[in-house]
Symmetry: C2
């Protein structure tokens, strides 16, 4: 591979492979450059430091679940339907990652723990999406929420067991789908107008 066609995305893909192979404690920028057949200077041209590269690869991994959330967000369905679908999409995306590739999931859980800025931005983004659905629901008379921002934060907090990696061990429990449905019912009733 020549330096001329090296993209940030190729570097992030190589970085993910390196992280998987060596683990987050040992992976270096030199390993990433070697995997791409380029100098480490070529990597630093895109990412000014090892920390910046790790943050970018973590950000990309977190954002992967957002593509599908965006489709739900853009739909014209009633707000209660959209919110349940949004929660379900988030849970399913996270569970697929955790159970489909547990080793990579564990690696990213370490990386996420390292970078509070990345995780804060990620959570703010997700809470913002919930707020968007809540506000649309309030405007259409489908939800009641005196403070949509606070309600969105509460919905997101209430949903921790179904998206926070700290609870990944629960996602293959036999009752998890029932628990998920019961929590969605409680959340949606909590937003219903009376």
């Amino acid at each position: 591979m020549t330096d001329g066609i090296l993209t940030a995305d190729q570097i992030l893909t190589a970085a993910q492979d390196v992280l998987r192979r060596y683990g987050p404690a040992k992976a270096t920028v030199v390993d990433v450059a070697r995997a791409l057949g380029v100098s480490h200077g070529s990597v630093y041209r895109h990412f000014p430091s090892k920390a910046a590269l790790r943050e970018a690869v973590t950000q990309r991994w977190l954002d992967e679940s957002h593509a599908e959330l965006g489709i739900v967000l853009a739909s014209d369905a009633p707000a209660p339907v959209r919110l349940r679908e949004w929660l379900s999409t988030l849970f399913r995306a996270k569970r697929k990652k955790a159970l489909g590739d547990p080793e990579l999931f564990a690696t990213y859980t370490v990386l996420v723990g390292e970078s509070s800025k990345v995780i804060e931005r990620h959570i703010a983004d997700l809470v913002g999406q919930v707020q968007q659905i809540v506000e649309a629901g309030v405007a259409r008379g489908e939800f009641a929420a005196p403070d949509p921002a606070a309600a969105a934060r509460a919905v997101f907090d209430a949903f921790g067991r179904f998206h926070n990696p700290a609870h990944a061990a629960d996602w293959s429990l036999p009752d998890i789908e029932d628990d998920f449905a019961a929590l969605c019912d409680l959340i949606l009733r909590g937003l219903e107008p009376r």
Copy 2:
């Protein structure tokens, strides 16, 4: 100290000191016996194995937050008031433990992770307490819940950020009281009759 007056509770207190001093990886039954000035046989007379002793000390630690919950449970206040008070009591008890003695809290977080039986029993007990409040509320027309057991599980799951040690780092955040209030509002609205 002579063996004659050695109680299970004295052993558990000594075991907690030993765990704090040596950490959960290194603490042994012999250390506990030495701290009490007795033979390790005297400890084994109360607890048949190291695992049993560790489970008992973990159980006692988890149960400590229950004493105050029992008072809330026994009160005659309306169910919505009782549920908010119960959630608040649980959160405050856990936070006090986490922030008041972070080292011991970290030790117990390791022990809790070791013993899935103890934690399952603990969670079943707490969910049962919520169910008791929900059922009382339904009987008095203060709550609506077609399936009180499912609703209780959902309330408990929704409350994870405020009692699960995995989220202890959040408990000293500046917004935590606002987030707690918003979540309680959502939960209580979710149980309101219409």
